[in-house]
Symmetry: C2
Subunit: 253 residues, 2 copies
């Protein structure tokens, strides 16, 4: 059974895209077949994988039913890692779909059509920094949610709002949606703020908090300018190693 994981958080800049790319690559090197879906109109996951975005092709064609997964999928530089490129035109979708009935289930329908997901062990969906229609579509289509949490005050503040939204989606549209885990990103143990956030989250979330902390590591932010996951740019850096550990944890949950 394909696991569809939405990587979501309405707080901006917390490491959603970096997680989709590097967790995706780390799962693929474990001999798994992984598909990345770029649901963010910024199309950062697309360029971070060295692919071209489009105005209305790629994910837009998938959501509007113009084409199936099989027709849209492209290879990346990592064996076992495929992707459907993002569309800048997704930004207008919120308004275009606003009055359609079933507007929250476009992605779920597209993925259920045909045997599109046969053969993929994991699908990772990169969400935009909002709780609008694109993120809701991702949560409705997903089997689980991964929540990257930056070790900062504002990120912590937004967590309860995100959990409420996940609960609402589970109640209204997707009763099987489970929280795969929350994990800390850009973590620097030397900073008191980071340690405080970690303690706070551990006491509130218990089990849901994953063991792996993704450290702040400049190699993770350099890799996208080469269109590669960190493991192809610098496989021995702390960033690459931490995403391999995260992949291990995701596989064992």
């Amino acid at each position: 059974m394909t696991r569809i994981l939405a990587v979501a958080n309405q707080k901006g800049g917390v490491g959603k895209t970096t997680t989709v790319i590097n967790l995706g690559a780390s799962l693929a090197v474990n001999d798994l077949d992984v598909l990345v879906l770029d649901m963010d109109p910024q199309t950062n996951a697309t360029s971070g994988l060295g692919l071209e975005d489009t105005e209305r092709g790629g994910m837009m064609d998938l959501l509007t039913g113009e084409a199936t997964v099989g027709k849209l999928v492209v290879e990346t530089e990592v064996e076992g890692l495929w992707a459907i490129p993002g569309s800048r035109g997704l930004a207008g979708l919120e308004i275009e779909l606003a009055s359609e009935s079933g507007r929250e289930s476009f992605l779920a329908h597209a993925l259920r059509e045909s045997e599109s997901l046969n053969g993929y062990d994991y699908v990772l969906v990169d969400c935009p920094p909002s709780l609008g229609l694109l993120t809701v579509n991702s949560l409705v289509a997903a089997t689980g949610v991964l929540l990257p949490l930056q070790s900062e005050y504002y990120a912590l503040e937004g967590l309860s709002h995100l959990m409420d939204t996940i609960g609402e989606v589970r109640r209204l549209w997707n009763s099987d949606l489970r929280i795969e885990g929350v994990f800390l990103t850009m973590y620097d143990g030397r900073l008191r703020l980071a340690r405080e956030v970690a303690d706070n989250v551990a006491s509130h979330l218990g089990e849901s908090l994953m063991e792996t902390k993704i450290p702040r590591n400049v190699r993770l932010s350099e890799a996208p300018s080469y269109g590669k996951p960190a493991m192809l740019y610098d496989a021995y850096c702390a960033g690459s190693k931490s995403y391999l550990r995260l992949a291990g944890e995701v596989m064992s949950r």
Copy 2:
């Protein structure tokens, strides 16, 4: 004439909220009267100033015409700095307003009603990480746009898209909208990536790039947990000083 500055960038986590709060405080200590408007449903600018957000009061009442600026404004801990708290309900506004005519001008109308802005030298508008209706409303109402740019690859990649949107707003709804400036945030000169981004922006933007670079400084990220601008938390840190310099530059433009 009141200067209305939208602080915008669809890329998440680049320092929009941190700029609105700390630039606002820095302008206020220069004996200016400043009003902060929190147009982000995350309401981070509201909590970062130690204020309470609401579900549908505050900015939502302003946009829907329920109340004027005079009725909604509250004091902050900084003399000369006022704010209208954010509303979590703004998240639903994109869909609620989608079919209304003039949906892009709700904020502009609200600010033009009555003498609401008399007495303020500056209005700073904190925008959400998207180019949707809330950001467009802010750009239509603004006299100028300030663009915080994180010294990272994805942030640089999104800049041209942001400039296109500003051009479109200028063409369709607000011909006086000018770019007040682009400035680097979370800048660490020891990192090659940061220097590369700085060089790249300088060669493309020339004049629009502001002299002041906001350094990465942990005190800026600690201050919001106390509900204070950095200058009330640690006035001598590099973060506070850099925002005072930025205020000097904004005042002289």
